[in-house]
C-alpha cells in the first residue's frame, strides 16, 4: 500500500520511516534552495513561509506567471549544495521533510536525528511526472530572489515517489553507499585488469 504523508507532518508520522522506504506527499510542498538557506541561516532573516511541520523541496521551477501562476516544470536540484546550512535550517524552521536530488552529508543526517526530520530523493530526470502531481501554486514569497530561488508554495497530491535517504535515526543512505561502492570497485575491477594484462603484447600477424 502507498504510504502517504499529509502536511502538517508530525514527528510520529515519520519516526518509523527508514532509509529506502518509499513515500508520497499530499498537502503543501514549498521550494527553497541556495538563497533561501542563505537568508535564513546566514542573514538571520525570518522565513516568510512557516515551514514548521511542513515540507521543503530543493528545486528551481519554471513557472508561467500571470493572474494565476502555473507550474510548467519542476525537478529537484542537487541537495548536497545545501549541506552546510541544512541542519541549522531544520533547527530554525522546524521543517519535517526535505525533498531533493542525490544525497546529503553527515551534517544533515545529524540534524535530522537531533531535530526529527527526514531527507527524501525524488528520481532525477522525471520533471513531467513531478509537475503532474502539482495541483497549483498557492503563494510565492521572496520573489525578488528570482524565479528559481523564490519560495513557491505548491499544493500537491501524492507527490512522489520519494525515497527516504536520511531517516530520523540519522541513517544516511548515500554516505553508506559511497563506502560500499568504494569496496565494490576494488573487487569488481580486478578480474578485468587480469583480462587485459596481456593486451600490451604484440598480436600475431594473421
Amino acid at each position: 500500500m502507498k504510504k502517504i504523508l499529509t502536511t502538517p507532518i508530525s514527528f510520529d508520522d515519520i519516526k518509523d520511516l527508514r532509509v529506502g522506504d518509499v513515500v508520497y506527499l499530499s498537502g503543501y510542498l514549498t521550494t527553497g534552495r541556495d538563497d533561501v538557506h542563505r537568508r535564513v541561516v546566514h542573514e538571520g532573516l525570518k522565513c516568510p513561509y512557516d515551514f514548521k511541520d511542513m515540507a521543503i523541496m530543493h528545486a528551481g521551477p519554471i513557472v508561467k506567471e500571470g493572474e494565476k501562476n502555473i507550474m510548467v516544470s519542476i525537478g529537484p536540484t542537487s541537495s548536497i549544495r545545501m549541506e552546510a546550512d541544512e541542519a541549522e535550517f531544520i533547527e530554525k524552521t522546524g521543517v519535517k521533510v526535505i525533498v531533493g536530488k542525490g544525497g546529503m552529508g553527515n551534517l544533515t543526517s545529524e540534524g535530522c536525528k537531533k531535530f526529527g526530520a527526514i531527507h527524501c530523493v525524488f528520481p532525477g530526470g522525471c520533471a513531467v511526472l513531478a509537475s503532474s502531481h502539482v495541483e497549483g501554486i498557492e503563494n510565492v514569497y521572496w520573489r525578488e530572489l528570482g524565479m528559481p530561488e523564490a519560495l513557491w508554495v505548491m499544493k500537491v497530491n501524492e507527490f512522489g515517489p520519494l525515497i527516504v535517504s536520511i531517516d530520523t535515526q540519522g541513517n544516511n543512505m548515500f554516505v553508506e553507499n559511497k563506502k560500499f561502492y568504494a569496496e565494490q570497485k576494488i573487487k569488481c575491477e580486478q578480474p578485468i585488469i587480469d583480462l587485459v594484462s596481456n593486451y600490451m603484447e604484440v598480436e600475431e600477424q594473421k
Binding site: 520533471a127 513531467v128 569488481c188 578485468i192 587485459v196 593486451y199
Partner: protein
C-alpha cells in the same frame, strides 16, 4: 533551391526534430531500459523504473521535454562532400536551436565564459557545438543531435597514461568515473570510452563511443571483449538506477579508438544518463529526410509546426 531557401527548410525541419528528440527517447534506448528494468529485483528499484517510464509516457503525451535539463545542443555531423548546402548548415542549425528554445521549450542553459550572463536562447560562443566529418563521395548529411545535460557532463574526464600503466589504466579510469560522480548522473548509464594518442582525441572518441547505436561492438575482438567485461563488471557493483543500490549501473559500455603513440595511452571516459536524448536525422541532397531513431517520428513531424510555419 538556393541557399536561403535551403537554410529555411533545414532550420524549420531541425526545430521540429529538436522537439521530437527532447520529448522522446530513441527506440534502442527504450528497449534497453526495459531490459534493465526487468533485471532489477528490489522494490525501490522497481519504483524508480516505474517513475522513469511514467515520466517518459507523460512527456510524450503532453509533448514536454522528458527531463527538465535539456542541456546544451551538440551536433555530430557526417556530411558528404557533394552535399549542396554545406555553407548554410551551421547557421540553419543555430537558428533551429534558438527557435526551439521557445517553441519546445528548452531550458535556457547557455552562459558564455567571462560574460557569465545567460544568452537566453541556447546559442552562445561555439554553441551549439558542431563536430564535422566529411565523406568524399556522398551527397547527404547525417546529423546526430545530443542534449548534453549538466549532471551527465560532470563525470567526464580524459587523462594520458604511461605504457607501463598498461590497459589496466583504462579499466581503472572507467570504474573511477562511474563509481565517483557517475552514480549521480542518473544511471543506468551509457559509458563511452575513447582511446587515443592524446587527451583531446581520446575525449572526442569517448563521445563518439556513446553516440553509437546501443549494443554495437568495436571491430576488434579484444576491444569487444573488453566492452562486455567492463559492462558486466560495472553491473556487479550493486549501483542500480539513480545510484541507489540495484543491479544495473550501465546499459552499455562502448569503446572507440585511434592509433596511439608508442609512448602514451590516452583514455577518455564520458557518461550519458538514462535520458539518452540522441536523435539521428539524415537529409538527402534535396533536403528530404528520414529519422531512423524513433518509430513514431513521421507522425510527430507531420503534426508539429515550426515557428516559421506557425
Amino acid at each position: 533551391m538556393n541557399n536561403e531557401e535551403a537554410k529555411k527548410i533545414l532550420s524549420s525541419t531541425m526545430e521540429k526534430f529538436i522537439g521530437l528528440a527532447a520529448t522522446h527517447l530513441p527506440d534502442d534506448v527504450l528497449a534497453k531500459l526495459e531490459e534493465c528494468r526487468a533485471k532489477e529485483t528490489n522494490e525501490m528499484q522497481k519504483t524508480l523504473y516505474d517513475a522513469y517510464f511514467t515520466n517518459l509516457e507523460l512527456a510524450k503525451k503532453l509533448n514536454r521535454p522528458c527531463c527538465q535539463d535539456t542541456g546544451l545542443m551538440h551536433f555530430y555531423m557526417t556530411v558528404g562532400a557533394k552535399f549542396p548546402y554545406i555553407g548554410v548548415i551551421e547557421e540553419a542549425l543555430s537558428d533551429a536551436v534558438r527557435k526551439a528554445t521557445f517553441s519546445v521549450p528548452l531550458r535556457q542553459n547557455t552562459v558564455n565564459y567571462f560574460d557569465e550572463r545567460n544568452t537566453g536562447d541556447n546559442v552562445g560562443e561555439r554553441i551549439p557545438w558542431f563536430h564535422w566529418e566529411i565523406e568524399p563521395d556522398r551527397d547527404d548529411l547525417e546529423v546526430i543531435a545530443y542534449f548534453a545535460g549538466g549532471g551527465c557532463c560532470l563525470p567526464g574526464n580524459a587523462k594520458v597514461f604511461k605504457p607501463s600503466d598498461g590497459y589496466a589504466s583504462i579499466v581503472k579510469a572507467v570504474f573511477d568515473t562511474v563509481s565517483d560522480l557517475g552514480i549521480n548522473a542518473c544511471p543506468p548509464l551509457i559509458v563511452g570510452v575513447g582511446l587515443g594518442t592524446n587527451m583531446e582525441n581520446a575525449a572526442v572518441l569517448s563521445k563518439k563511443a556513446y553516440l553509437r547505436p546501443l549494443g554495437t561492438h568495436h571491430r576488434h575482438p579484444k576491444a569487444a571483449a573488453l566492452e562486455d567485461a567492463l559492462k558486466d563488471g560495472l553491473n556487479k557493483m550493486g549501483i542500480g538506477a539513480q545510484g541507489m543500490r540495484g543491479n544495473i549501473a550501465a546499459m552499455e559500455v562502448h569503446i572507440e579508438s585511434s592509433g596511439r603513440h608508442t609512448a602514451d595511452i590516452a583514455v577518455g571516459v564520458n557518461v550519458a544518463c538514462y535520458a539518452h536524448r540522441r536523435g539521428v536525422i539524415r537529409f538527402n541532397s534535396d533536403l528530404s529526410y528520414e529519422i531512423p531513431t524513433y518509430k513514431d517520428a513521421e507522425e510527430y513531424m507531420k503534426n508539429s509546426k515550426s515557428t516559421e510555419e506557425n
